[in-house]
Amino acid sequence: MGYNAAVIEGRCITKSYGGRLVLDCVSVRADRGELVAVVGPNGSGKTTLLRILAGLEEPDSGAVIRRGSITMVFQENLLLPWRSLRDNIMLGLRYSGLPKREALRRVEWAARLLGIEEHLDKKPGEVSGGTARKAAIARMLVLNPDILLLDEPLAGLDVSSRLSLLRTLNNLRSDGRSIIFVDHNIADVASVADRVYLLTPAPARVSAVVELAGLPREERLRKLVRALEG
């Protein structure tokens, strides 16, 4: 896909907190239907980068160009404990003015996609961490965003939940959505990402951009590891 097709693009984003440089001219982009990963050590500013892309924070310099609606799934699930998973997922739709029947239909769709339909009537405290994580993703997915940002969506999940969520991310990309996610696990990232941005320790710069789209499974991981080592 060409450069001009970027649905979201961060150009030379720089950000400091209290004189400490966190992001040093970081550029990332995702085209339509692309699944892009950002990988870097702890404290390298990955979350800050996502927050700036989402519009929750302003960069000190640089620009963010969004060509579509955007939403972000936070590292914490932030499910409201006094609401069922169904009500949590439907929360954003209540503000959109969507008729209730259509809103419920969309909640069912997202729940089926993420495999949590049998938990919809439970409260967040009654489900596993993996189910809660999927509900947090479903809550943003029902808003039908063009761009979905996910901050460590796989953190703390067991193997089967990770695999199931990776499959879901893969499906979402097929729907034409652009996804940028942050993760630490190289094997997980290599298995789904079309492109990976490797960040240096803070102040973060992009040390490598690894294109993985179209590569066979085993080659993807090899290429990513080579880029990390080199």
Partner: protein
């Protein structure tokens, strides 16, 4: 009568405090004004409230004990709401932004329910304090209630009556606290505590 007056005052204080919590989220000027108001209300002696309300409404009015109960409960409730709002996770506000919630829905849908565990504890303390103090207001000027009866028996030099009504007040507070408020607090904490 005492309990009803206290509950009326407490309800009034809770309503105003919850509304001011909403105002608190609107701007930094509103935040400064509410902090100043809270400090001011906390600084006024209960004795001053009692005398002012008695002078304003008279000794036969039911309003002074109600308003004194409200004045005692209000700063406890407002302090809890303000402290809760100041320590609320910024992520909760950002979640509302990402869900495209209108600004005016932030407080009722996201912030207020998350404040309830802290507010339930504060409400328990506020209601207890209001009950103790409204008795004093009744003693100084009212035509009924536990405080009035204690004052009445004191004037008649009847210590048994004073003790009996005093014990009734203690029993009322224990029943209210242990059978209702403690359970309510436990239930609210379980209902609204955020999972990570």
């Amino acid at each position: 009568m005492t309990l009803l007056r206290t509950l009326a005052g407490f309800t009034l204080a809770l309503t105003v405090a919850v509304f001011l919590g909403y105002v608190y989220t609107l701007s930094s000027t509103a935040r400064d004004a509410i902090r100043a108001l809270n400090t001011l209300v906390q600084s006024v002696s209960v004795l001053v409230w009692i005398i002012v309300f008695l002078m304003l409404f008279g000794v036969f009015s039911p309003l002074p004990p109600i308003l004194v109960a409200a004045a005692v409960a209000f700063p406890i409730l407002l302090s809890s709401i303000v402290a809760g709002l100041e320590s609320t996770s910024r992520r909760l506000v950002e979640l509302a932004v990402m869900l495209r919630a209108p600004r005016w829905r932030l407080y009722p849908d996201f912030l207020l329910p998350s404040l309830l565990p802290g507010l339930a504890g504060a409400a328990r303390a506020a209601l207890g304090a209001a009950l103790r103090i409204s008795v004093v207001a009744e003693a100084m000027g009212a035509s009924g209630g536990i405080g009035y009866m204690i004052e009445n028996y004191y004037s008649l030099a009847e210590p048994r009556g004073v003790f009996a009504w005093g014990l009734l007040l203690v029993a009322l507070m224990v029943v209210l606290d242990q059978l209702i408020l403690a359970r309510l607090e436990g239930w609210v904490k379980e209902w609204a505590t955020m999972q990570r």
